[in-house]
């Protein structure tokens, strides 16, 4: 039953949104097309960064540096209950969104998107943000120089996200 609800969630959402927009006399099809064109723009915009970063991540993997980092972080990861293989993602996630996407998708490709490691990487990516970038954008725009406890509090949230990602994947699958 729960599975059926989950399977119907996204298709149902598409239907619901379309009906709602039609009821508001919006031209749903044209909006979808305009939006999709913007999506293509986004894809083209992220392509160069992904090529460059996946080159770097591929090199880290081939050189054994990824494994080394994984092994170095294993004791800490054990304590937190995080799969050590996802350690590189944990390190890069708060710093760079595109690098995190590169590292995360490389993990999903290497271990399989439906493997526990692949799933943990996906949940981590989906439930955390590029913390340092976001803080600098927001506080930069507002002219805030003394950030007080914003960074430690945001990092506490990230850490919780990583631990809970591993925990939920272990509980659900």
């Amino acid at each position: 039953m729960g599975q059926i609800i989950l399977d119907l969630l996204v298709p149902g959402l598409l239907l619901g949104i379309s009906c709602w927009a039609m009821a508001g006399k919006r031209d749903v099809y044209t909006l979808m097309i305009t939006g999709a064109a913007e999506g293509l723009d986004t894809a083209v915009r992220i392509l160069p960064a992904l090529v460059v970063l996946l080159t770097a991540v591929g090199m880290l993997r081939a050189s054994g540096a990824m494994e080394l980092l994984t092994r170095l972080m294993t004791p800490l990861c054990r304590v937190l209950g995080i799969p050590p293989e996802t350690a590189p993602l944990v390190v890069i996630r708060p710093i760079s969104g595109s690098a995190a996407l590169a590292v995360g998708s490389e993990l999903m490709a290497t271990y399989g998107p439906d493997s526990p490691i692949g799933r943990t990487a996906a949940v981590m990516l989906g439930s955390t943000e590029t913390t340092f970038y976001t803080i600098s954008v927001y506080f930069g725009a507002a002219g805030i120089r003394r950030t007080r406890y914003a960074i430690p509090a945001a990092l506490a949230a990230d850490l919780t996200g990583f631990v809970m990602a591993a925990l939920t994947v272990r509980l659900f699958w």
Partner: protein
């Protein structure tokens, strides 16, 4: 970013030299670049579709509707900002856009909110500003479309099946972030 790129390369070269994996390293230079293209192409389709859906959500006033729904919750988190109608609307819009995964809409609204809320703080982050930043760095997304797109591109059997895990994780992380902010606000002046 220059630093990240250079550090990645430095680590790779040092490690490969130390473990004599140099042949594999040199092969990885070009195969990694190819993977970048493959990943982007597999992402592009779902990304386009989801951008289309985002557009419909924005234009049909769904964001505005959701703003109204989250407003009672935000009112308790941001009592000071609540006295300023411009900050209040931007705050609600920011959270609604974040929930719907409309990154392009969320950031300008968030910036509008911090600008309003930063007035008269003299360059120091108030408790409410810290809370707003924590809320935005903790990613409260209902549908993580990009991640689902990557999974679909890599052949996942059910790319969306991790939604409940993402919801629970996000909810915990944003709660811990806000609690940590609350606790730290007593200590950090």
């Amino acid at each position: 970013m220059t630093w990240i790129w250079t550090i990645f390369l430095l680590l790779s070269v040092l490690c490969a030299a130390a473990t004599s994996q140099t042949a594999a390293l040199s092969a990885a230079v070009l195969s990694g670049a190819g993977q970048g293209i493959t990943l982007t192409i597999s992402l592009a389709g779902p990304l386009c579709l989801w951008s289309g859906v985002s557009r419909v959500m924005e234009e049909s006033g769904l964001t505005a509707r959701l703003s109204a729904l989250v407003s009672p919750l935000l009112r308790r988190l941001f009592p000071d900002a609540w006295t300023n109608p411009a900050a209040r609307d931007a705050l609600c819009g920011n959270l609604a856009a974040n929930l719907l995964g409309l990154g392009n809409a969320a950031t300008p609204l968030g910036i509008r909110a911090v600008r309003q809320m930063a007035q008269g703080t003299g360059g120091q982050a108030s408790d409410e500003l810290c809370r707003l930043v924590v809320m935005n760095t903790a990613s409260v997304q209902l549908i993580p479309a990009t991640v689902a797109a990557v999974r679909a591109g890599l052949g996942s059997a059910a790319p969306f099946d991790l939604l409940p895990a993402v919801w629970i994780t996000s909810l915990c992380s944003v709660s811990v972030g806000l609690l940590a902010a609350k606790a730290l606000s007593r200590w950090v002046r």
